[in-house]
Amino acid sequence: MSGNNAIGEAAVLAGCTCYFGYPITPQNELPEYMARRLAEVPGGVFIQAESEIAAINMVLGASVAGARAMTSSSSPGISLKQEGISFLAAQELPAVIVNMMRGGPGLGNISPAQSDYFQATRGGGHGDYKIIVLGPASVQELADLTMLAFDLADMYRTPVMILGDGMIGQMMEPVTFRAKKKERHQVLHSDYILSGAKGRPARIIKSLILDPKEEEEHNWKLFRKYQRIEQQEVRYETFLLEDAALAVLAYGTAARIAKGAIKRLREEGLKVGMIRPITLWPFPVKIIQETAKDLHDFFVFEMSTGQMIEDVERALGGKARVHFYGRPGGVVPTPVELARIISRHYYQSQKRKK
């Protein structure tokens, strides 16, 4: 199954009944899948919206009405959705947003890239807020994280973004859909949903808070929620880290390439391991800090000019050397190329130690 289709099926299995989107390459298979699939779901709603902006606002409406709702797009389209994402965050409404990143800035191209990391992990729109960002590295993980995304969105009443790229969306791999772990009501306090004020006081969902003191308190409330998420929801994978002298840090498609490179380097006897962040926000700070107790060279690989590297440097606080290799603009290096670069940095760092 292709990555884009796997997201669609996982979403439906997770109880998503509403999809709103606008065509943009390289993620069109997902709205096409949802157009077919949601027709089979009781109460299923699929709308090809007139714009990215309309799509995210339809998600807002469906979400406040109590449905599990999602939208998807690719980089330029995600920029357009940011107003709506800021409102969803401010109004504390759950939603799932998929970004299959492509080369940028501007119209860029339709090749895989990782240049929207800053936009995704810093909130993306205006105001002091964060969204949970998940970085899948396989079709199986796309499916698993899509299901998780809906649970997290409901649990914390927050937008959750799946940050993939053109490659992972188009790639075909075998996938097993896990059974739904939780029913929606188990993770959701539904006392905000608008259904008409019948037998209860009217509910108001808003983000306009004119009194600065109240708006400040709202911001701190959101901040405390983000702290809880940082404490409870960090996810990462480590690979051959135990005896490593150099740790590669990469996510998503870049991590797949890095894994291939590391396997080659291990065959040559180079002690290279990897930390792969699965949650890009919250960022896995602790494992990086713990790893820095034993090794002093980190190698960040991104399909951008360097965005996640800022989070790695911040986690390390100058306590280790950070090497970097980046390929922006939709270029995907091969594991062989990457292995050559890593080995150069590896030998340099070994020499420095002597």
């Binding site: 509403c18 007139e50 309309a54 606002n57 339809m58 807002l60 406040v64 608008l194 009217a202 509910r203």
Partner: protein
């Protein structure tokens, strides 16, 4: 003693923040009266706009969710598709509906979304201090058209109902005003009819309401009401623009 006039149940006991002579308070009251009379307050979900009426949720005692500026029709679409049994409406001004939110409104109308929109046309951006709106009349002075709207430079007032009448999805479009008692009675009928069309699942309904803004028109309330009769309704003629049942 028999009570002949009272606050509608759906209208909260609150001081409205609107300027003296503003039409919003009248329209709020009409919506509240209609929701009471049709006995649908408990089904209603409202979407207020960015603009003067954003605080409508402080006055109307129903479920409400604030939309980003111009996106009311898209938000209402999402709600209505999930909850077809509810009565869903958005409340939007001219800048919200016919400038920044043109696409959302136009396409919701064209899809025939079974929602209702109350479109307050006061020919000016109210909350931001009286700038030129898409419905500002030719020659009308605003803070951003200080010499009057120049149609060569600024284009023409958009006649939303007439444009939407061409769309297959629209069921009921009427332009009314709230500048005098007889007009207010007609406006109430139109509001009720729009809700009834939605309840009968007939499709998209929109009531355009010409509404005085004395503050930004720089007039007193009486002159503002006269201006609607003498000037504004010549550009925006009142009446039913489209009714699929006629």
């Amino acid at each position: 003693m028999k009570k002949v006039y009272a606050r509608p149940k759906t209208l909260r006991d609150a001081h409205l923040h609107y300027c003296p002579g503003c039409g919003h308070s009248i329209v709020h009251r009409l919506i509240a009266e209609v929701l009471d009379e049709l006995n649908v307050r408990e089904q209603a979900i409202g979407v207020p706009p960015a603009g003067c009426a954003v605080l409508a949720y402080d006055y109307l005692d129903i479920d409400m969710v604030e939309a980003p500026h111009g996106r009311g029709a898209a938000v209402a679409t999402g709600i209505k598709r999930v909850r077809p049994e509810n009565l869903v409406f958005s409340y939007q001004g001219d800048g919200d509906l016919a400038a920044i939110g043109t696409a959302e409104t136009f396409h919701a109308a064209n899809r025939g979304e079974n929602i209702t929109i109350f479109f307050i046309n006061n020919a000016v951006y109210g909350m931001t201090g009286g700038q030129m709106a898409p419905t500002t009349l030719p020659g009308q002075k605003t803070t951003t058209s200080p010499a009057g709207r120049n149609t060569r430079r600024d284009g023409y007032p958009i006649k939303v109902c007439e444009v939407f009448a061409l769309l297959g999805g629209t069921a009921y479009l009427e332009r009314v005003a709230v500048n005098k008692p007889v007009a207010i009675r007609n406006a109430k009928k139109a509001i009720a009819k729009a809700f009834q069309y939605q309840m009968k699942n007939l499709g998209f309904s929109l009531v355009e309401i010409l509404s005085p803004c004395p503050t930004n028109w720089k007039m007193n309330a009486v002159d503002a009401c006269k201006w609607i009769d003498e000037i504004m309704s010549k550009e925006f003629p009142l009446g039913v623009i489209k009714d699929i049942k006629c």
